[in-house]
């Protein structure tokens, strides 16, 4: 077998096309990756923290607590929020600490658009309490109002003596994605949250002021379209408050903050792979077609009459060469792309810096090389089957590249199925963020490509055994 491998490697190395494919493929893959990230638009200026919510408030001076029981909460959105809040002032964007229930993510303690602490997973009915002591605010939750468990403590420095405390309700936007005919769009669907509170209390008690309702909305920036005032309101019957509201108190760092146009930085850095795919397809097809073009296959099979080991050695050599060239290429592409991204404003808090030592980055970079190797073997198998580059090359390129071009013309569902069912699925190994257009799990995607490769190899072996060379 070692002799066989050495023979196959020598044959591949002697092909003039091999050197061309590998060197051009390597260089263009790195260049294309760099070009894709440098011609992408990223926003260097982050939007200011903004909040939109319904606020039932009253002032509280000095240390104290605000307590309420959330008796019901509508499931308007997994990240709808209903709870108690301590806020620096009544203006949007001011500092805060809030303890809340969410229909999908349990109890959360959040502060200042950056801190998020998870409490228990339970929903309504549930008691919530925020206690201020100087600059530190502690959140407690309870199922009965007597046994309290601490959720966490946050520190808000330089909080004024008098703050606004009370109940709040919010429910963020839903997004719907549509595509077809080459056009893509994001539909925005507002949701309205509703929650009922009772046992609402502020300690120490101060009867001089009552509860006031306010819909907090961001101050409009000049030149920007102002958000229409959405639904929201409060009714009180015998100490039971029904509050409706929309919007969210969130920013980068708060998990409910969702950007529909967020990019997958890691896979964006590796988009040069498309030229690498082409190079590996040519490599695989040529390794097979050259044997038939020159009649070398007869010499090969005369020297090693057993078809199985011959095909296995060919596949191993092509896969090995593709991987050995593909890995430095994808590593270089990733490393070249990172400083470019940084220069273009891709930095925390909007996007974390990514490095090669992270597990998912490593999976994407090594996986890219693995996908290239699998695809080269797929092309080799088709080449052995069809014997001529004029037949195999157009077929493999059509199967691998056309779905990616036709996909965006179809509906989103059809596009996803096209990705799942063609060898293109293997590129899912580059993805590190779940997006609306995510078609398949990274490993499952690589599995689809591997299955195609295995199938093509099996048919090629059958054909090699049963047809004349």
């Amino acid at each position: 077998m070692r002799q066989l491998l050495r023979a196959e490697l020598a044959k591949l190395a002697s092909l003039r096309g091999t050197v061309w494919c590998l060197s051009l493929g390597f260089i263009l893959m790195v260049l294309l990756s760099a070009w894709v990230v440098s011609s992408s638009k990223f926003y260097g200026d982050l939007p200011k923290p903004a909040d939109t919510f319904s606020f039932v408030h009253r002032p509280m001076s000095g240390d104290g607590s605000v307590v309420a029981r959330v008796t019901t909460q509508d499931d308007s959105h997994p990240w709808a929020k209903a709870g108690v809040i301590v806020k620096e002032s009544l203006s949007s964007g001011s500092r805060y600490a809030a303890l809340m229930l969410t229909p999908g993510h349990g109890v959360r303690l959040e502060a200042d658009f950056t801190t998020d602490i998870a409490g228990s997973a339970g929903g309504a009915p549930r008691w919530l309490r925020l206690t201020r002591s100087g600059g530190s605010i502690t959140g407690y939750e309870s199922t009965d109002g007597t046994t309290w468990s601490q959720v966490g403590t946050v520190t808000l420095d330089a909080l004024p003596w008098t703050v606004e405390v009370g109940l709040f309700v919010s429910s963020p936007l839903d997004f719907e994605y549509v595509q077809g005919g080459g056009a893509q769009g994001i539909g925005i669907i507002p949701t309205t949250g509703r929650a009922v509170f009772d046992h609402v209390n502020v300690e120490p008690t101060d009867s001089s002021t009552g509860w006031t309702y306010l819909k907090v909305v961001p101050t409009p920036t000049p030149g920007q379209p102002q958000m229409r005032p959405g639904p929201g309101g409060m009714t009180e019957v015998d100490g039971s408050f029904t509050v409706t509201g929309e919007g969210d108190i969130a920013w980068y760092g708060i998990p409910s903050f969702f950007r529909p146009d967020a990019r997958d930085i890691v896979s964006d850095s590796l988009q040069g792979v498309h030229i690498g795919l082409l190079a590996m397809i040519v490599l695989g097809v040529l390794a097979a077609a050259a044997e038939y073009k020159t009649g070398m296959i007869r010499a090969t099979l005369a020297a090693y009459p057993r078809r199985g080991p011959v095909l296995a050695a060919k596949a191993l050599v092509v896969a090995g060469v593709a991987f050995v060239v593909g890995l430095p290429a994808s590593t270089a592409a990733f490393l070249v792309a990172q400083p470019i991204l940084r220069d273009r404003g891709v930095r925390p808090p909007a996007y974390p810096y990514r490095s090669l030592i992270e597990v998912d980055v490593l999976r994407a970079v090594v996986g890219t090389a693995a996908a290239l190797a699998l695809l080269a073997v797929f092309a080799l198998a088709i080449g052995m089957l069809l014997r001529r580059s004029s037949r195999a090359l157009p077929l493999v390129i059509a199967v691998v590249m056309v779905p990616q071009i036709v996909g965006p013309l179809l509906s989103l569902d059809a596009d996803k199925w096209l990705t799942r069912l063609t060898p293109t699925a293997g590129l899912a190994i580059q993805e590190t963020t779940e997006r609306f257009d995510t078609a398949i799990d990274p490993w499952a995607g690589l599995g689809v490509l591997a299955a195609y490769t295995a199938l093509a190899l099996t048919i090629a072996l059958w054909s090699l055994r049963h047809r004349d060379a």
Binding site: R16, G17, W20, L32, W35, V36, S39, S40, K41, F42, E176, V178, G180, G181, G182, A183, G185, G187, R263, S267, D268, Q271, G272, H274, I275, L278, I281, V282, V285, L286, A289, K293, R388, S389, S390, R391, L393, P394, I397, A398, M401, V402, Q404, I405, V406, P408, L409, L410, S411, D413, A414
Partner: protein, 245 residues
């Protein structure tokens, strides 16, 4: 000239690859167009009115079908170098300009006739398939006619591009990979480009994306094809007939 034309036509006609390519052009175009027709959903879209372009959907098979046109054109050149027919060709007709013009004429004629048939079939398929998806395609509409004739012209121009590249590289595999790479790689990478300025540049200058937006874009594709053919012709004129590959 008539002799050169007849010679080239005989060679093209008797190469079994030609028939396969023509068949692939028709079948590929119909298959992808049919798939696009059947999976388009204009009945239930969120930002109304729907922005689905019925002509574009029904003619999307060109993305696949063009491979047939390109391979046909590449083979018409590269086959001659792979078997030493090129020597007989030039012995029979030493005027290389005539050989080249005759070759281009018969290749374009074959691609044009096949494209006319293939695209007419896709439009009729769209007439049948699209109404159930909430779209309507009228054959008399200006956009439909423009799309139809633009696509025929597009297929002729990519064939010419393939012919030019094949004259330059004189190797079947290299010519197919270069031409298809030139057409396919930028549009795929462009899916990940988000800067509107660059998106506009790609729409304007990438041969495939530009070529499929009649009519101004066809000129861009025409320029690529012309450049390839001119360089190829100069090399054909000056180089010896022995293939290097």
């Amino acid at each position: 000239m008539m002799r050169a034309l007849r010679m080239e036509w005989t060679k093209l006609r008797t190469d079994p690859g030609t028939r396969w390519c023509a068949l692939a052009l028709i079948a590929g175009t119909l298959a992808v167009s049919g798939l696009a027709d059947m999976t388009t959903d204009a009945l239930d879209c969120v930002p109304r009115p729907c922005t689905v372009d019925a002509t574009r959907i029904s003619l999307s098979g060109v993305y696949l079908g063009q491979i047939g046109a390109i391979v046909l054109a590449v083979l018409a050149v590269s086959r001659e170098y792979e078997s030493p027919i090129i020597r007989s060709t030039l012995a029979a007709c030493p005027r290389r300009d005539r050989v080249l013009v005759a070759k281009a004429v018969v290749v374009l004629a074959a691609v044009a006739v096949t494209a006319v048939v293939a695209l007419a079939a896709t439009l009729f398929a769209a007439r049948v398939l699209l109404p159930s998806r909430g779209l309507w395609l009228s054959l008399a509409d200006e956009p439909t006619r423009r799309g139809y004739f633009g696509s025929v012209l597009y297929l002729c121009l990519v064939a010419l591009l393939g012919l030019g590249v094949a004259l330059i590289v004189r190797h079947t595999g290299a010519a197919i990979a270069t031409t298809l790479g030139l057409l396919f790689v930028t549009p795929i990478a462009a899916l990940f480009v988000t800067d509107p300025l660059w998106q506009a540049r790609i729409r304007r200058y990438s041969p495939m994306t530009a070529g499929l937006t009649p009519w101004a874009g066809l000129r861009v594709l025409g320029a690529y094809a012309a450049a390839a053919v001119i360089v190829g012709a100069i090399l054909f004129w000056r180089r010896d007939t022995v293939s290097e590959g």
